[in-house]
């Protein structure tokens, strides 16, 4: 039977991707919006933060981290309430499908959208904004676990948060401001070390701050680490913070997920 759960999960993933690619707005939002932001910020802020580190390089690291939050947390926390309103979940509830298969389908969708978005950002970053790809295999390895842990955290938190919006119509208004505020607080749009202390401390409770810091450790030269608040990349703290959120997020998702709105 668990074989069936896996198989149906993969079928759902394929179906989710098919539906996703047919919704023009969602494709545009996922693909073009981050790249557009990159162009705007990259063109406006031309400062050099340190020898060999431009603001656009700093910004793009943050945007890649944001991509994990956008495609997972934001997308799911908006999409699942809409599916609840439209009766998608209720219909599924009436079939033999396991919720695990449904979650797998969502995870496959998130991972695909994320690969596309991160891929687009990397491509444009390298082509137009002098972004350097990770130089060592150690940094590539770190990049992969950041992406993997980040997207799983983001997925489970999106599923968990999907019970908060009262309706699909209002979901975007509830979820998007949270993501934007976290982006400001976590050092995506501004250099993190220049933010007020209380903002930095607040951001440290959430995974985005750790993801942006992790991405900087991958894409910026190690000499820049001293400019961080802790004067270090804090790689092991990043790993611990993400693992804690992974456990908390999974527990929350399992506890709060509802098929219907009653």
């Amino acid at each position: 039977m668990s074989n069936g759960v896996l198989k149906i999960g993969i079928h759902r993933g394929a179906l989710e991707i098919k539906q996703f690619t047919r919704q023009r707005e969602s494709v545009v939002f996922t693909m073009l919006f981050p790249v557009m932001l990159l162009f705007i910020f990259g063109s406006v802020f031309k400062d050099t933060l340190a020898p060999g580190v431009t603001f656009s390089q700093y910004f793009i690291s943050g945007m890649i981290a944001s991509g994990l939050v956008n495609t997972g947390f934001q997308q799911l926390a908006i999409m699942i309430p809409i599916e609840r309103d439209f009766g998608t979940l209720k219909r599924l509830r009436g079939t033999p499908i396991s919720p695990v298969s449904y979650f797998m389908g969502k995870a496959i969708l998130v991972f695909t959208a994320m690969l596309v978005q991160v891929g687009a950002l990397l491509l444009f970053g390298v082509l137009f904004f002098n972004l350097h790809l990770p130089s060592t295999s150690e940094k590539w390895f770190r990049f992969f676990w950041l992406v993997l842990l980040g997207s799983i955290c983001s997925t489970v938190l999106g599923i968990a948060f999907s019970c908060v919006p009262k309706s699909g119509r209002g979901a975007s208004a509830v979820v998007s401001p949270i993501v934007i505020v976290l982006q400001f607080f976590s050092g995506v749009f501004f250099v993190f070390s220049t933010l007020p202390k209380w903002m930095q401390e607040f951001a440290a409770f959430f995974p985005l701050k750790w993801l942006t810091q992790g991405m900087r450790s991958v894409f910026l030269p190690d000499s820049f680490a001293v400019k961080e608040v802790a004067a270090s990349w804090e790689v092991s703290r990043i790993l611990i913070a993400l693992l804690i959120w992974l456990v908390v997020g999974t527990a929350l998702a399992l506890k709060t997920f509802r098929w219907s709105d009653r």
């Binding site: 039977m1 198989k7 149906i8 079928h11 179906l15 098919k18 539906q19 047919r22 919704q23 599916e83 309103d85 439209f86 009766g87 998608t88 209720k90 219909r91 509830r93 009436g94 079939t95 033999p96 499908i97 396991s98 219907s260 009653r262």
Partner: protein
Amino acid sequence: MSSANLAVEVKGLVKSYTGKKTGKKVAVDGIDLSVKSGEIFALLGPNGAGKTTTVEILEGYRDRDSGQVSVLGQDPNNLGIHGSAWRNRIGIVLQSTKDAEDLSVKEVVHHFAKYYQNPKDPDLVIADVGLSEKMNARVNTLSGGQRRRLDVALGIIGRPEILFLDEPTTGFDPEARRAFWELILKLKAEGVTILLTTHYLDEAEALADRVAVINNGKIIEVSTPQTLGGRNNAKALVSWLENGKKTSIQTDNPTDEVKKLTARFTGEIPELSVTRPTLEEIYISLIGETHE
């Protein structure tokens, strides 16, 4: 009747909701039901009577306050590890949904077939519900009636033993409704037990082997559509115009009354009519009584 022949058995079902402003409202107030395997059973009642609540409890969507419920031998509110196996044997057609808009009819039906252990051939099911011509159409381009037939296709794709239909033909034009009824009767011929809710009397009359009239959360009567409310034994109403006044008489022997009238009147009897209560009149009187 042994319970082995019963697809659905309900005893003393009670369900109430507590609203913030409205306070406690009893939606289902002590219902007993039994649906035999292979029959079409209709729950007939006005909006807000408790039909959907009852059916959603049977489908496993809602919990209940008290009472016993068995659907295909399982308690829908206490399925445990049997949930998937039980759902493999039931089919559900919900009230309006707006899902799967970006997929084609073919894609949706083929996908849902994968959820079941022994599904029907998806293309045959699409043909059965009369959507072959719309096979490759996106769901969001379907008309209301076509959309509903897709819902039925998804309800029967898993070869269910029992099919729940919640107000399946609301918003249909008469022709679409007749086509839909034929589809339901075809399923019955295949041996599927069907529990349907409706507020259309003609639908209950055309389809149901037995009808339960429900109002204010209570079952008022269970019978065949032909005998509902003593309809088969009801007196006929003979009425005519006499001395400029509408006159009528209720009788078990309308023919005799008409003979008497023929003797009294020379020629045409003004505005003569002989009527028996329609299912609708019976229904209205049943529903009306419980409003007091």
